[in-house]
Amino acid sequence: MTTELINTVWYACIYGLMAVPLTLSYRTSRVLNFAHGVYVTIGAYIPVLIAKGFGIKVSPILAVSASFMTGAIIAMASHAFVFSPLIKKKSTPVTLMIASMGLWIFIKYAFYAVLGTLQKAWMTPIFYTSPNLEIPILISFMGMDIDAKLLLIISLTSATFSLLAFFLTKTKVGMAIRAIADNPELAQITGISRDKTLLVTWAISGGVAAIGGFAWSLFAYVSPETGDNVILQVFACSVIGGLISLPITFVGSVIISSTENLLIVFLHRYLGVELSFRPFLSFFVLLLTILIRPPAGAGGGLPYRYRLRSIFRVFQREVKKNV
């Protein structure tokens, strides 16, 4: 059971690092970014490329900062070249979604092509590798031996989120971001430039997602499909947060990681459910969230009544007539 608990903590941190920036970017720019998985993949690959390219052991600080910078630059570029012109043309949210989809597929396969070329040039396998990091395996802490990578992930997550919270609540730029998220017109009247604020937001969300990718590469092999493999769970976490709230998104990542690691093992042991039903559970949580707590305003949809409830109403009316 200890293994599953440790796995839960691990996955919760990683999903949090990936899902919180997705929520932040949607909340601020109203673009549902399907290209988010690409930032994760690139963030996971940057330490690998540095280690292979220079033939060195990478220190964690260098790896994190390089990942952050690369993710931030790519996210800013995608804002500057795609989303910003489309927002200026007053495109609909669906159009922006399609554009982000095109961006996803373009960056992903461009990255595939780059990796293929590098693999041929360096003559070393690049697909399915892990970075060569300069950290010890175990750290003794208060008489206990703790996995150094686990400690690194936990400290990385807490540091990132406390910095993010400080940035969003205390600094001027962070407050501008929140103002733009709440009411773009009103914020622009007070003199905040929407375009520049969005650029900063994209930089942060891309960078943090890239750090999430680095955290993933600490315990698993990275491949160009890394980001796409976790996109389902990341979306589920963000939907639990309603695509609005950052803390609830992190709670959602804890929920998703515990269903994936604890609940499935429980079901497997006592009810005999196959382990292959794991993706079904995440999807089930997503559907349950939409059914129980429909995030009406955020997605831009109509708050229709659900059929169950309307059937209940009809039933009530019939009962009243008869009584």
Binding site: I98, M101, G102, A110, I231, P279, I290
Partner: protein
Amino acid sequence: MFDISSFLISWFPLFGIYAVLSLCLNLEVGYAGMANFGLVAFYGIGAFVAGYTSITIFLTFYGYNYPIYSPEAIIAMGRVAGKTPWLNISVFILSLILAFLIAGLAGYLVSYPTLRVGPAFLGITILSFGEMLRVFMKHFAPTGGAYGMLGIPHPFAWIPDPAIKNTSFLILTLAILIGVLIYFELLVNSPYGRVLKSIREDETASLCIGKPVPQIKARLLFVASGISGVAGALYAFYLGAITPDMFITAVTFEVWSMVILGGRGNNFGALLGASVFSLLNRATSILNFLFSDLPIDPNYFRWMITGALIVIILMYKPKGIIAEKPIKTEAWKIFGAYGETKKKLIDSILRIIDYLKSAIYWLIGRETGYGPDIKGSKRE
């Protein structure tokens, strides 16, 4: 270098399948405004249903008792596939019907929780649905897991000559495509089509007029998903082997790019986009086949072009190549085309009369001092 007829035989079925898919997506996106990012899920469901039913029926008919993914079953399928023409055809028709029903039902069920929330959540949920199904099928043993199914019996496997066999499959695919096209054209040029367009333009307004928007959307998703399931079944019979990894999310994007390139809200635009992208698909595989030692895999280039085209078209030509046209209703026939020419004629006659009037007034006014005010002239 290569003979043109074999190229056409390999291109046309693929074109037919992709065209059916893009017509379905166009009905959802172009007409009803539903952003369906999980088209590949229904396509894959259709393919797997068709493969599973056809292989199971064949094996039970011939009395073999192997599980369908075992090598013995594949060898047995190779032996018995061409023996009984009537069984081949009837199994083909049965699996098309089953694929339609099951994929449609899946679409209807998915629509229930998702249609009441906004486009962003609809996109997330259906995309997740497709991805979840793929991951699940990879670990699901009864359909072969990650290796998928091999030896799906071709409907014309009993014809010995491969050229005639493939040509008849091609004709069948194109016939299905033409049927779907005629059905969709009738559908979108009916009052129902106008309701769909009103939902796309303003959901709240059409709800206020009294249209049951969630119900209409759910039914539309049933039909469109079912027909994409039929396309998946055709794909399974075309290739003869399917694996879960054929149904990645990128396939959805390819169909999206067809619809966007051709023009949303236009069935013929969807056909044009499908022909362009299926040609690109075939061309890259030929490039792969001819030059095996390229520095970069042409498939990557195909996907990069697909992604870049989506973004570029959305930025510079959002309506696509063939723009949307008004729906041909009875009223449009009376007041639209004919009425417009009549109005133009009357307008021009009125304008000439106006010119004449002003000229006369100008003449009279100059001599008598009466008439309308003319710019620049001063009167005492």
